[in-house]
């Protein structure tokens, strides 16, 4: 259980999160949504233990994250940043193997499993500069998976991808959740959140304004209040689309 308790975060005199509390369950996909500047990335960083809160705490299985050692925390929580920022043109499998750092071992089995899970076998020796955007996104996710973390926190992992790659990656996240890992995704696309997350947290100006299953958290009333647009949801559950009224 990954829990945020009354988190308040200030970044350079600006309050970024005010009194945010949430309890996240393993084996589920939780989406964090909100307009730009709502504090989504900051909340994810705080949940990952990468951004200290001014008040409140993040706890993992009852223990405060701040009290965990760096390696222990890294073993439990895998974090996928928004912008891939790969410094050196290394082979895909070397990049993926970096995920084993918290464990301090080569973890060949875990790395191989991650490569297989994301269908990266034919690409393992290729330098990252020669990978497409979608392939690179899979490699970076494989890096997180190679660490075998209990939690996967990803900041807008689908943003720059083509539709096919988006759906592909979502399928992988679902597989992770089915396998017992907890998945938390910051998403920009509300339809993706509606259709694939089992729980949605809506942030508005640093405060949590909705928390629950997507039908409730992303109801038109909430969306109108937070995004200022009147919309309606069209389509079957799991295949819904957003349409302005």
């Amino acid at each position: 259980m990954l829990t945020a308790e009354n988190l308040a975060l200030v970044r350079g005199h600006r309050p970024v999160l005010t009194d945010v509390s949430a309890r996240l369950e393993p084996g589920t996909i939780t989406a964090i949504v909100g307009p730009n500047g709502a504090g989504k990335s900051s909340l994810l960083l705080a949940l990952a233990g990468l951004l200290p809160a001014q008040s409140g705490a993040v706890t993992l299985d009852g223990r405060a994250l701040a009290n965990l050692g760096l390696s222990e925390r890294a073993r439990q929580i895998g974090y996928l940043p928004q912008t891939p920022d790969i410094a050196w043109d290394v082979a895909a499998e070397k990049l993926i193997a970096l995920g084993r750092l918290p464990h301090g071992d080569d973890g060949h089995a875990a790395v191989a499993a991650a490569i297989t899970a994301l269908a990266l076998e034919p690409l393992r020796a290729r330098p990252v500069s020669q990978l497409s955007g979608g392939e690179r996104a899979r490699v970076l996710l494989a890096r997180v998976l190679a660490g075998e973390p209990a939690w996967i926190l990803a900041d807008e992992p689908l943003a720059a991808l083509d539709l096919a790659h988006q759906l592909n990656l979502i399928a992988h996240f679902k597989a992770c959740a089915r396998g017992g890992q907890g998945v938390v995704l910051v998403l920009h696309d509300l339809a993706l959140a509606m259709n694939h997350a089992s729980r949605v947290l809506v942030l508005h100006e640093g405060a949590l304004v909705a928390d629950g299953p997507p039908d409730i958290a992303l109801a038109p009333a909430v969306i109108e209040k937070v995004w200022g647009v009147a919309i309606q949801w069209l389509g079957e559950p799991g295949r819904k689309a957003l349409s302005p009224v």
Binding site: P84, I86, A87, W88, L101, L140, R143
Partner: protein, 333 residues
């Protein structure tokens, strides 16, 4: 062990005996005793310590360059950027004035004050840049940007104070000493310098090696690296200590020798898997080869006095840097 290690270890094994033949005086390797009076002394007391010192300094500067480029995630980084070398130089220059006040034999006052300068630079860097190190409090990348800026500021301050020291030189003789020394050279060094520099460089290399895995994680970016458990403060401390020791020891015994840390990782990178930790040992070996080769060449160039090693490396390094920039612009690095 990657290819690069074998290549440069082999090259070094070849260069080392060849370098013992380089000098104004011809010594027949198969008939040392018959090559004139003092030939054995020339070999054992002049050329051998000099060659070993070239290897030690080259290894330190090469590894420091690889570590710097890994930390700054930028192939244009050079240890000189951090201000450690200019601070060491400032310490050495200050020894011309204050060295007599130290309770050590006079020939040790310069190296000790150079090391003190390097330590001071390290501490200043850690204090200034350490506050910006990502505990998440700053924006992404502010840690590295602050580090680079702090290093540049320390470098320019040290340079300005050194220039001031030059204008305040008590006489023309001291002035020429300072200027000569600032352009690094290995001329006529002895085993004393080897015993001073070698342990410090070895220690520095060990410290840098300890940072290897964390530097690897930085490939993914600061945030991702921290999420993998990298402690940015510890990494900064290791880097500053490692670079301070290797570069400080080099400046202490030889003056300022630049460009090695910039050039060498580039020569090495294509032969490795490009991960920062894989670069360090080959960069040390390649740096040793570069400095040894350059020093051997300056010894046999038929100029009136020996061309100073620092100048020779700048003559090689500056065009190389330009070529690198052009390649970078064309997106090929």
């Amino acid at each position: 062990m990657n290819r690069a290690v074998w290549v440069f270890a082999g090259l070094l094994a070849l260069l080392l005996p060849l370098s013992l033949l380089a000098g104004r005086v011809w010594i027949d390797p198969f008939d040392v005793a018959g090559s004139g009076p003092n030939a054995a002394i020339i070999l054992m007391e002049l050329r051998l310590p000099r060659a070993i010192l070239a290897v030690v300094i080259g290894a330190g500067l090469g590894a420091a360059g690889a570590a710097m480029q890994g930390y700054l995630r930028n192939p244009l980084a050079d240890p000189g950027l951090f201000g450690i070398a200019p601070m060491a130089a400032l310490g050495a220059v200050a020894s011309f004035w204050f060295g007599a006040a130290l309770p050590v034999p006079p020939q040790w006052s310069l190296p000790l004050m150079a090391l003190a300068g390097a330590m001071l630079g390290m501490v200043a860097l850690a204090l200034i840049a350490g506050r910006g190190v990502s505990d998440g409090a700053g924006s992404v990348g502010s840690g590295l940007a602050l580090f680079t800026l702090a290093g540049l500021m320390i470098a320019s301050l040290a340079g300005a104070l050194t220039a001031l020291a030059i204008t305040l030189a008590p006489n023309a003789f001291a002035l020429s000493q300072i200027v000569l020394w600032l352009n690094g050279a290995l001329t006529d060094r002895s085993w004393h310098e080897v015993w001073l520099a070698a342990p410090l460089v070895a220690l520095g290399l060990g410290v840098l090696a300890a940072a290897g895995r964390s530097l690897d994680a930085l490939t993914l970016g600061e945030e991702a690296a921290r999420s993998l458990g990298v402690d940015p403060k510890r990494l900064l401390a290791l880097l500053v200590a490692g670079v301070g020791l290797t570069v400080g020891a080099s400046v202490a015994v030889a003056g300022i020798i630049g460009f090695v840390g910039l050039i060498v990782p580039h020569l090495v990178r294509p032969l490795t898997d490009r991960m920062p930790s894989s670069l360090m040992l080959p960069s040390a070996l390649a740096g040793a080869c570069l400095v040894l080769a350059a020093d051997s060449i300056v010894r046999i160039l038929p100029l009136v006095t020996e061309l100073r090693l620092g100048i020779a490396l700048s003559l090689i390094g500056a065009p190389f840097f330009l070529w690198l920039l052009l390649r970078l612009r064309r997106g090929q690095v």
